[in-house]
């Protein structure tokens, strides 16, 4: 967006995550996975049952998105973030499975923020409503599980320079709280 953005590769490593601070603008490239409400319910069941997940979760970044259908000549339709708090209850299991990063919009629960610190993870914000713009950074897309969930299916995406911002870092920072502190006025 404004400042010099950091180029980051997914899957993530602890080493890279430790370089990220709230407010950092990031251009993310590599492989990420899409999951939202219904897929998370199923993934949680699979993790609880000790079943193998349909993707390699180690160091993975999960994008909370249900894209619109791909028109002819495109790999995916519009693909902006959905609201993240709905996925909060599933975050402990996802971290257990190896997830390191999340992309969404909106604040996380205290429990999720604690886990981001404890598990050395990161929460990126993508701009809600900028779905066509974000779609431009997706170069490959493939449904890898739960095809019957339609827009909610689990997709493997290859992204190139996806514009994100660090909302919660592994040091306990929270950009949303900092933003309100800085810009709110007496009413």
């Amino acid at each position: 967006m404004g400042n010099e953005a950091k180029r980051v590769e997914s899957p993530l490593t602890e080493e890279v995550i430790k370089t990220l601070r709230i407010g950092d603008e990031v251009l993310l490239s590599g492989i990420i996975y899409t999951a939202r409400d219904m897929v998370h319910t199923r993934l949680q069941e699979m993790i609880n049952n000790g079943d193998e997940l349909p993707f390699n979760a180690s160091g993975s970044v999960i994008y909370y998105v249900g894209p619109s259908p791909a028109p002819v000549g495109r790999v995916i339709g519009s693909a902006g973030p959905t609201t993240s708090y709905r996925m909060d209850p599933f975050v402990p299991a996802m971290f257990e499975a190896g997830m390191r990063g999340m992309i969404g919009k909106g604040p996380r629960s205290l429990k999720v923020k604690d886990l981001i610190v404890k598990k050395c993870g990161v929460y990126f914000g993508a701009t809600g409503g900028a779905a066509a713009l974000l779609s431009e950074s997706i170069v490959e897309a493939e449904v890898i599980a739960f095809d019957n969930f339609g827009p909610e299916a689990l997709r493997k995406l290859k992204v190139k320079n996806m514009p994100l911002i660090v909302i919660n870092d592994c040091y306990g920072g929270d950009l949303y709280l900092e933003g309100i502190d800085k810009y709110s006025e007496e009413i």
Partner: protein, 281 residues
């Protein structure tokens, strides 16, 4: 009587579904452009720039402005001198939604039955249909695809009559504050006051059909709109919730008489992808 074949309604709803989802209205675009200079946060300015660029990409590529192409809310104002042929109005509107969402590559987001059948209807039907009978021989169709993220942050309260005007103001501010970054700010705040439990929510949503900048015709209420918009923009939430002065682009209030025992207030939040299109048949 003027005869209208319902095919014409289906066709219009189809076109409006695609246009509303892919082409941003001028009032929204203008409001976002003006906000760039008013926003003091550099990140906030950058987010507003992203939203404008997103609208350009959407229109040029015929992609939806937002992947959440919403629950399709349709308002029909039917002239009393119109007689329809070719089926039922409800079926004609839903057929238009079906065609528009399928042919326009729009997301189908409707779950058939929340309690007994949690499967996607796969064509974004049914729509939510509101019908008014008005004088004349025309049909005005207004279509608003309404996203789930901002609906989730909307609230209703049956206040005590003694809570009065300050109670309404506090409830609006509390609702926007609780919503924070979730409903994709900068938002538009739609407020209904009065009526019944259901009607107050109907008014709050219907207020969102207004063009940005159009004030309530009652000067006292118009003043509340501008004052409370200014209050909302002091919350510091800002574009994308990353901090800033532009939390809302406008605030609309609609009122209706109330029962002596009740004081209903509803706040329906609209996201930065505020989509409304109208056509007259």
């Amino acid at each position: 009587m003027r005869q209208i074949h319902l095919r014409e309604i289906t066709r219009a709803v189809r076109d409006l579904s695609i246009e509303a989802n892919t082409i941003a209205n001028c009032d929204l675009r203008d409001a976002l452009e003006k906000s760039v200079s008013k926003e003091v946060s550099p990140v906030g300015k950058a987010v507003l720039g992203q939203l404008l660029k997103n609208q350009d990409i959407a229109e040029a590529s015929k992609l939806p402005i937002c992947q959440d192409t919403g629950f399709t809310v349709v308002y029909l104002e039917i002239g009393m001198d119109v007689s329809f042929t070719g089926g039922t109005v409800k079926d004609a509107v839903d057929q238009g939604v079906r065609e528009g969402y399928t042919e326009g590559f729009l997301r189908k987001s409707i779950i058939k039955n929340p309690l007994t059948s949690p499967v996607n209807t796969e064509d974004n039907t049914p729509s939510i249909l509101h019908i008014d009978l008005v004088p004349g021989d025309k049909v005005q169709i207004t279509l608003m695809p309404k996203g789930g993220g901002s609906e989730n942050m909307s609230r209703i309260k049956m206040m005590k009559p003694s809570d009065g005007v300050p109670g309404v103001r506090d409830f609006i501010l509390e609702t926007v504050k609780l919503a924070g970054a979730n409903p994709c700010p900068p938002i538009i705040v739609g407020v209904g006051v009065g009526g019944t439990f259901d009607y107050v929510a109907y008014m709050a949503k219907k207020s969102l059909l207004r063009k940005i900048g159009v004030r309530n015709s009652d000067p006292e209420i118009a003043l509340m709109e501008t004052n409370w918009l200014s209050d909302v923009n002091k919350l510091g939430i800002g574009p994308a919730g990353l901090g800033g002065k532009i939390t809302a682009l406008d605030l609309f209030i609609e009122v209706f008489p109330r029962h002596i025992a009740t004081f209903p207030v509803a706040v329906n939040i609209q996201c930065n992808a505020a989509r409304v299109k109208t056509r007259i048949v």
